[in-house]
Symmetry: C2
Subunit: 359 residues, 2 copies
């Protein structure tokens, strides 16, 4: 899932995302709550109507961003008080509030409100944090079940504008949000770097019962080998017939590895953020396009890539755009990196199909 | 002509420019000379190859930008010494050097090196400046005729990359730069705000003889009514069967007015620059998209516009992108403004066709 923090994948128009085959986007609840605000989005028919995107959307719970604010937040049983990174105003998120906001934003998949345990953390602290996340998961589910029919999807087709993407052939299409359809609320497993706590968190989250499960609290500074071990341990205790979502990863070779382990969904700012800093992923490895060695390089960025950037522009041109601090550098670099990530996963999915047929 | 200062119309990919029906782009010689430098562009087959754009390109002579540097330049008979606005390094442009650079850049239309007379200026100073421009026009032509076959077009199709735009149906196509084809060098009329000097400059520039003529030195701070008068006076003395190009204008209603007077070509940074500052041109007048009144406005930016921005996105979304300082704001705003300008001229050209048929 490409990350579209405030209702836009930075620099890339929605029709280009459709052409890239993006079937689902991630939006950040914390950012959207601050700008443009949930009431605005709700009135526009939810995020789908607001950003003119008919395919699927997932919103995170806001938990991760709020916990990233460090000095600006205060956690209690009831919820979290925090200050906006934009204007310093004080706000409060609880499981109930996070549900209310996410229902208003109207994504297809929404996330339970959780506490992302910091790394490193003592065993006792990790357990406390995990227990809090479990209590919040219960409260999230209760509130969601009571209010899930308030999702503003009826209004989604209210304006005369057209989001033309859903009907295109051969691309993932969002189930029609017709009468009675509601969002899907996923639970989140925590438990820090303890396999025992991860197992317990997974089992107890599954006991609460959700249509999909996420593994949170990873990629927070721990060594990569530890991430793999925790993911492997946690996956064992999550039902294979429900979507399993690993939050906030990863590099191209890592997402393939996680998919191979059984992860179904991932999101990461890496392809888009790295692109804006001139770091490009190719079939031949990473390319730092700012380097002078590319100044007169007539080759495509990645000769094996069929994206609209690689088909048309040379490394020399991309290097020039980046060196001249041109807007188009960020646009084209982002399109390529997204294409590379999406193609990586497409190829992997294809290999699953082949493996299944061989059985 | 949209302005693509350093080989890019800021924020807009070339395929979108093609879809908008852009038949010719303007590149700035001064900026391209500094970054990426003429040798790089020449080696990539000229600007066409470098920026993967098969349709037409015009480069200015660098004169206007150099004269805008004020404190950083020194004008002599031979040429102009100036300092780079990027790193303060010293450079020298003469008519011969401006031709050499523009031949290396390889645009389809290039401009004689001129002095843009400042406003206001005394009659004597204006005449001196006009005479200098005439001598430089001669020198430009002499150098161009001797070196025009050095244009690097043979190399334009050297790389394996495709600029896919030229062949699309119903859009302006650049004449094939096959063996022997060269660039077209246009002369520039100066003469400040004096009708007499404008007449003299026009007649003597035509005497030197060019395949097209530009009116320079306007939109430099003079009242708009004065611009109209000088344009009207100058046009009378330029052949109607050659392209007449008014440099650096203007607002939407102005470009229609100039076209009605007989101007064939114009360029202006206004649609693209204003877009990046949230000022949008619509059939109902200017819209400052940053205003809070648009925060929940579900309507299209311009309900009468058929561009890809107006067909898909609401004012509320565009306002949110701008208020959140999102890259996509600049991309979408620029696409709309260019569409509005191009459609304005398309409609006007259509009205010429109708008027011709009625005769």
């Amino acid at each position: 899932m490409p990350v579209g923090t405030v209702g836009t994948v930075k620099g890339v128009p929605q029709d280009v995302l459709e052409d890239l085959g993006v079937g689902i986007l991630l939006g950040n609840t914390y950012h959207l709550y601050l700008r443009p605000g949930v009431e605005t989005v709700r009135q526009m028919g939810g995020l789908h109507g607001f950003m003119a995107w008919e395919r699927c959307i997932l919103t995170d719970s806001g938990g991760f961003q709020v916990f990233s604010l460090n000095e600006l937040r205060k956690v209690k049983e009831e919820g979290v008080t925090f200050r906006s990174h934009i204007d310093g105003t004080s706000h409060f998120f609880s499981p109930e509030r996070a549900m209310e906001i996410q229902i208003g934003l109207g994504a297809d998949i929404i996330m339970a409100f959780d506490e992302c345990t910091e790394y490193p953390a003592e065993e006792g602290r990790t357990r406390e944090s995990m227990e809090l996340t479990l209590r919040w998961a219960e409260r999230s589910k209760v509130h969601f079940e009571q209010h899930k029919h308030e999702v503003p999807w009826d209004k989604a087709s209210g304006s005369g504008l057209q989001a033309s993407g859903a009907a295109r052939a051969g691309t993932p299409v969002r189930p029609s949000p017709s009468q009675g359809a509601t969002q899907a609320l996923f639970g989140i497993v925590q438990g820090g770097m303890s396999k025992e706590l991860r197992r317990e968190s997974a089992l107890r989250t599954v006991e609460i019962g959700f249509p999909g499960y996420a593994i949170g609290g990873l990629s927070v500074g721990e060594p990569r080998v530890m991430t793999y071990e925790i993911v492997a341990e946690t996956l064992q205790h999550l039902p294979a017939d429900k979507p399993r979502y690993l939050m906030g990863v990863g590099r191209p070779e890592e997402i393939v590895q996680y998919a191979r382990m059984g992860v179904d969904m991932m999101d990461c700012v890496l392809p888009t953020r790295a692109a804006r800093h001139g770091l490009l992923y190719t079939s031949q490895g990473e390319v730092s396009i700012k380097q002078a060695r590319y100044a007169r390089d007539e080759a495509a960025l990645d000769p094996e890539c069929r994206c609209r950037v690689c088909r048309r522009y040379s490394r020399a041109y991309l290097r020039h755009l980046y060196a001249s601090n041109e807007l188009l550098a960020q646009v084209l670099n982002t399109i390529h990196n997204l294409s590379f990530y999406l193609e990586t996963m497409r190829v992997f999915r294809g290999s699953i199909g082949v493996a299944s047929q061989a059985l």
